[in-house]
């Protein structure tokens, strides 16, 4: 049970129930779909990216609590960030969910992301947590219009 409580922390449950920035951005200049074929999680990330700054970012789609909460927390943290800052956070997030970063020692800059530290105990769920991030990364780098975790 402790591991399960670590995974489904209050922040995650809250963002799953009422995801933030869960909408389309009509005038987005970047839009990428992210797909996890293993479990069918499927999201679209919309970004209004101007002068190297994320002016606005949102997502919609369907998936599990972890992937949805991750999209919600991610979009609320990235607004106003530069691409470099966003990628820096993604790198840290990735380490965090793989258990390679101690959340306690990095609290100052991780902020709400620390809620995802419990994912590292559930290897099967790492992809759920990272899906929105991979999709955002592809959007900022103007990559494919669809990314897949497989």
């Amino acid at each position: 049970m402790p591991a399960l409580r670590e995974l489904y922390q209050e922040i995650i449950l809250d963002h799953n129930k009422s995801p933030r920035n869960y909408r389309k951005i009509e005038d987005a200049n970047r839009k990428v779909e992210g797909y996890n074929p293993l479990c069918g999680d499927h999201y679209t990330v919309y970004v209004k990216y101007e002068n190297d700054v994320i002016k606005d970012i949102s997502f919609d789609g369907a998936g599990c609590a972890i992937s949805k909460a991750s999209g919600s927390v991610m979009t609320s943290m990235l607004k106003g960030k530069t691409r470099e800052e966003a990628e820096q956070l993604f790198a840290e997030f990735h380490k965090l969910v793989k258990g390679e970063l101690n959340p306690e020692e990095n609290m100052d800059h991780l902020g709400r992301l620390a809620a995802f530290s419990g994912v590292s105990e559930f290897p099967a769920r790492v992809k759920c947590a990272s899906l929105a991030w991979h999709t955002m990364y592809a959007a900022l780098n103007n990559k494919e219009t669809t990314v897949s975790t497989e």
């Binding site: 049970m1 591991a3 489904y8 449950l13 293993l38 479990c39 998936g63 609590a65």
Partner: protein
């Protein structure tokens, strides 16, 4: 949600032995079925501090001790390559392996050993037929019929064949209970149809299809039928002669044997006429650089050293199943399914996917607003193993408009206490995420 037959007497795919179940000594028979649980050592373990509740039998079944022992004994005492040595061990291994072929022949009631081809599993069996039979009989403008509830392994090989030949893949639609629409099937059967490939028991929905009737309809038009029996053999006696199917595919690992072995049953007249699927050792009589003469059936289709140890284990699994009263097994599993269906479907917000009248012990379900993946993780924390996802049947998920389901699938070693654990687990899921 009463989508299953209660007395078992009207199940079209049941044999006489199954019908005999309704005898007075039923309680004793059912107890004997349940008593088999201790033959499965893996089931004794604890997971996440809880007694393991293994409800993922449709993915793969657990193995009884005698299967495990048979493979260990093979490697300790008999290991040797088969069909190619004059020495003592090779003879012994060959005999043991070939004895399994006869066991399979009787297990499926095939007419001859020559009709039993060892393969890696159901997937390889279907690929063999699509490649060898398919390429020789299916041309541009022809059609191959499958159903809307096929496993990917009975979709993709036919799709590839159709892409390569210019033939068309036709799909029989299913209704909201997850049953094949027979009128639609009859409508699809035309002079263009060159092959029908159907699942006997659906892994995603549990539906038991009326394959015998469907085979008859195809044969009236001279069309051969392949049956994907991966999920049928663990739950019922299968008689390929009675079904009159042209091909039947099974996997050892779903029927209490090891992974990496399976069988393609094919009518001799088809196998005889089909070209080899793979080339190599064992499948030849003689080789020169100018010409190769292929071996007789079934060896023509068995290139290379097979999974000998796995085959031996499969033989032990067949012995084990043959020792069971499959009628009693069917009755016991029906009782489990009924109990689980009642208790799971009465939980608020839970919906069962797959409510066919004829069902094997597979229970797919979704919970309002909760993704299957989260269900799986929370049940796992209670030691309960279920499958979550699309079950290699994405078109089925699309048909029901859902991304995924959680699926509990039962074997005869499962108990009502385990279903009680599942029910509390589902309550817990709702408590955490609802």
């Amino acid at each position: 949600m009463q989508g299953y037959s209660k007395d078992g007497t009207d199940r079209t795919n049941m044999t006489k032995a199954d019908i005999d179940v309704v005898a007075p000594d039923i309680i004793e028979k059912l107890d004997r079925v349940k008593g088999c649980r201790h033959h499965f050592p893996l089931l004794r373990q604890r997971v996440n501090g809880k007694a393991l509740v293994y409800l993922d039998n449709a993915a793969t079944s657990q193995k009884p001790q005698i299967v495990i022992d048979s493979m260990m004994r093979y490697y300790q005492e008999e290991n040797s390559n088969i069909h190619r040595g004059v020495h003592y061990l090779s003879e012994r291994a060959t005999q043991a392996y070939e004895a399994v072929r006869s066991k399979v022949q009787h297990f499926l009631n095939a007419a001859s050993r020559r009709e039993i081809v060892f393969v890696r599993g159901t997937t390889e069996a279907i690929n063999l037929v699509a490649n060898s039979y398919g390429r020789n009989h299916v041309e541009k403008g022809d059609e191959v019929i499958i159903s809307g509830m096929e496993h990917h392994s009975n979709i993709v090989p036919w799709q590839i064949l159709c892409q390569e030949t210019g033939a068309k893949l036709r799909v029989i639609p299913i209704n909201d209970d997850g049953e094949i629409l027979m009128d639609e099937y009859e409508r699809l059967l035309t002079e263009r149809t060159k092959m029908v490939a159907l699942v006997h028991v659906s892994n995603a929905l549990g539906t038991i299809n009326s394959v015998k009737q469907m085979i008859g309809l195809a044969h009236e038009r001279g069309v051969p039928v392949l049956i994907d029996g991966a999920q049928a053999v663990p739950h019922m006696r299968v008689d390929v002669s009675d079904l009159d199917c042209d091909f039947y595919a099974i996997s050892s690992h779903k029927v209490f044997g090891p992974t990496g072995v399976g069988v393609l049953y094919g009518k001799e007249k088809h196998l005889e006429a089909m070209p080899p699927y793979q080339g190599g050792g064992d499948m030849i009589k003689s080789v020169t650089f100018e010409k190769t003469i292929y071996n007789d059936l079934p060896y023509k289709f068995e290139a290379g050293t097979p999974n000998i140890g796995g085959g031996i284990g499969f033989g032990a699994a067949i012995d084990y199943v043959n020792n069971m009263d499959m009628g009693a097994v069917a009755a016991y599993e029906r009782d489990l399914l009924e109990y689980a269906t009642e208790n799971i479907s009465s939980i608020k917000g839970v919906q069962i996917i797959g409510t066919a009248k004829e069902k094997a012990s597979v229970l797919s379900f979704v919970i309002d607003g909760i993704h299957a993946h989260d269900i799986g993780t929370i049940l796992d924390s209670e030691g309960i193993a279920v499958r979550t996802g699309h079950h290699c049947a994405q078109p089925v998920m699309q048909r029901f408009g859902i991304p995924a389901t959680a699926r509990a699938s039962f074997a005869f070693y499962n108990t009502k206490e385990e279903i009680d654990a599942l029910v509390s687990g589902v309550h817990k899921v709702i408590e955490v995420l609802g």
